[in-house]
Amino acid sequence: MSVSVKDVEHIAKLARLRLTDDEKIEYTGQLNNILEYMEKLNELDTDNVSPLTHPMEKENVFREDIVKESLNRDKALKNAPKSNDEHFLVPRVIKGSGK
């Protein structure tokens, strides 16, 4: 499997990254290098191995469903790049003639 510049553009779009033309070429070469090395795993027959998703394999960690103190609004907004006293502010999403 080899990755083309076009593939890199697609991955960048999925990852919400904008790459310069130089970066696209650089990452294409590096990703190919790394992915080629990762092909090594195909030497192993893993048909009868179940995936390990977690080193301690804990399951179903529950807690009591009780309300506890959480971050208040002021604190939650403290690091916002743009906010009024109530909301995070972002560029308009729905374009149109609204006020």
Binding site: V3, I34, V93
Partner: protein, 470 residues
């Protein structure tokens, strides 16, 4: 200032009045200023540390004080301390201030430790040299032309250069043990889940651990014993009580995995390890050759799984709720793209790209699922090995510290340097790096000891005795 070689000596000096804590903190602050070229700290809490020194000193005098009273600690800048900066050495979190305190850090404060500052690291803990930092590289105090290792480079430098007593780092694939080895100090990665990750900025959540750096094994164990413990705020936290172990070296067998002493290991490291092993043998320590047959697959497995987890974890940096937002935004999509592209550094972007690729439609089974299966095989290697031996001894790294800039253009080469450390994170087991004498060169060499999951106390007991014999 009167000197001490570990925390219990320090506490005795404070109690006897031969050392005042304020004088001690001033000494560290001056030394941090004198060694600013090492770039160990992103932030130094000068006023807070001085104030706290007075408070803790009064507590010690009153006889009612915590287990770490007077211990001066530096913490890696990926750990939250409320109302203080938390940058992860990234431009994307340049002005971020933590809104709560990490559980591990709170436990230090509860036991009267003094937090002197936050240390430099690779951006979001991604790197093996501390060169991927928005604050610039930290330098190895043994020789400033060399990297200190990473990603917890600043935490290792701060301890090795005497800019604090002990420090906390994080280890996702060797980020504590490798810099400890490169700087010639003790660094320990606990069993996954033993220390709560609450308040630790996530990189790869099924790998991330928090652990100590120190100049000696006793102080490292003390620090770990305080930060360990179940936390309801971390669903992967293990219900296990840390209890010190008294195990004697003559009751144990140590495994030597042949895959870790082969041609991939530099002569300098091999020779130094052999010398250390023969010293231990002469002191009656029993060794047995073992095999960890999937060792050659650890790097591929590790980098597929951790980049996948990272691409998911780092999707939260979108410029909307916190962190850097690009000035140049016409609409929402552009806000996401430009904020992330301008805010993340090169290595972080590369890992997000790689992780996004291995998780993307059509490649998920071939890379991500495959790697999860191999992860099980790697863990089984260790499970089998621990049926035969109590601990496993290896070099921490295949070579000693390299020069700044030497590997920066070849990411795969840099990844390969993690060959002996990533296995512990894949398997969830604890590992500790201890300094050993370099018999042919000048840069420090590290000996790594692995234990089985939740054998952390036994690992410390063995490490203490090994450290004293070497």
């Amino acid at each position: 200032m009167v000197s001490y070689s570990n925390f219990s000596e320090k506490l005795a000096l404070i109690k006897s009045g031969r050392l005042t804590l304020s004088e001690n903190v001033d000494f560290f602050l001056q030394k941090i200023r004198d060694n600013s070229d090492l770039n160990a700290y992103n932030f130094v809490f000068e006023d807070a540390a001085k104030k706290r020194a007075l408070e803790v000193e009064a507590k010690i005098k009153s006889g009612n004080f915590g287990k770490l009273a007077g211990l001066v600690v530096a913490i890696k800048d990926v750990l939250s301390l409320k109302d203080n900066p938390l940058t992860c050495s990234s431009k994307i979190l340049k002005d971020f201030e933590a809104v709560y305190t990490a559980t591990a850090v709170q436990k230090l404060l509860d036991e009267d430790a003094i937090i002197i500052g936050k240390t430099n690291c690779d951006e979001f803990a991604m790197g093996s040299s501390n060169e991927n930092s928005a604050f610039g590289p930290a330098l190895n105090p043994v020789d400033k032309d060399y990297v200190p290792g990473g990603s917890s480079g600043g935490s290792a430098v701060a301890v090795a250069a005497g800019l604090c007593d002990v420090s906390l780092g994080t280890d996702t694939g060797g980020s504590i043990r490798q810099p400890a080895s490169y700087c010639g100090i003790v660094g320990m990665k606990p069993t996954y889940g033993l220390v709560s990750r609450f308040g630790l900025t996530a990189f790869a959540s099924s790998f991330d651990t928090i652990g100590p750096f120190a100049n000696n094994v006793e102080d490292a164990e003390l620090l770990l014993s305080v930060i360990a413990g179940f936390d309801e705020n971390d669903s992967t936290s293990v219900e296990h009580q840390y209890t010190p172990d008294e195990k004697n070296l003559d009751e144990i067998v140590i495994g030597l995995p042949k895959e870790y002493f082969g041609e991939g290991t530099d002569e300098e490291v091999n020779k130094s390890l052999q010398e250390a092993i023969s010293t231990l043998k002469n002191n009656g320590v029993k060794f047995k050759e073992i095999s960890l047959p999937h060792t050659e697959y650890t790097i591929a497995t590790y980098y597929i799984l951790t980049t996948a987890e990272a691409s998911s974890n780092l999707s939260r940096y979108d410029g909307a709720r916190y962190g850097y937002r690009s000035e140049n935004v016409a609409d929402l999509a552009e806000m996401y793209e430009n904020s992330r592209s301008e805010g993340f550094g090169d290595e972080v972007k590369r890992r997000i790209m790689l992780g996004t690729y291995v998780l993307s439609a059509g490649y998920y089974d071939a890379y991500y699922l495959k790697a999860q299966k191999v992860r099980r095989l790697i863990r089984e290697d260790f499970d089998k090995a621990f049926e035969e031996v109590d601990f496993i001894l290896t070099p921490t790294t295949p070579g000693t510290a390299f020069k700044l800039g030497e590997n920066i253009d070849d990411p795969l080469k840099m990844y390969m340097l993690d060959i002996f450390t990533t296995s512990a994170n894949l398997a969830g087991i604890p590992g500790i790096s201890l300094p050993v004498k370099n018999v042919t060169g000048k840069m420090p060499v590290g000996l790594q000891l692995f234990g089985n999951r939740l054998s952390d106390a036994g690992l410390f007991a063995a490490a203490k005795q090994i450290f004293s014999l070497l």
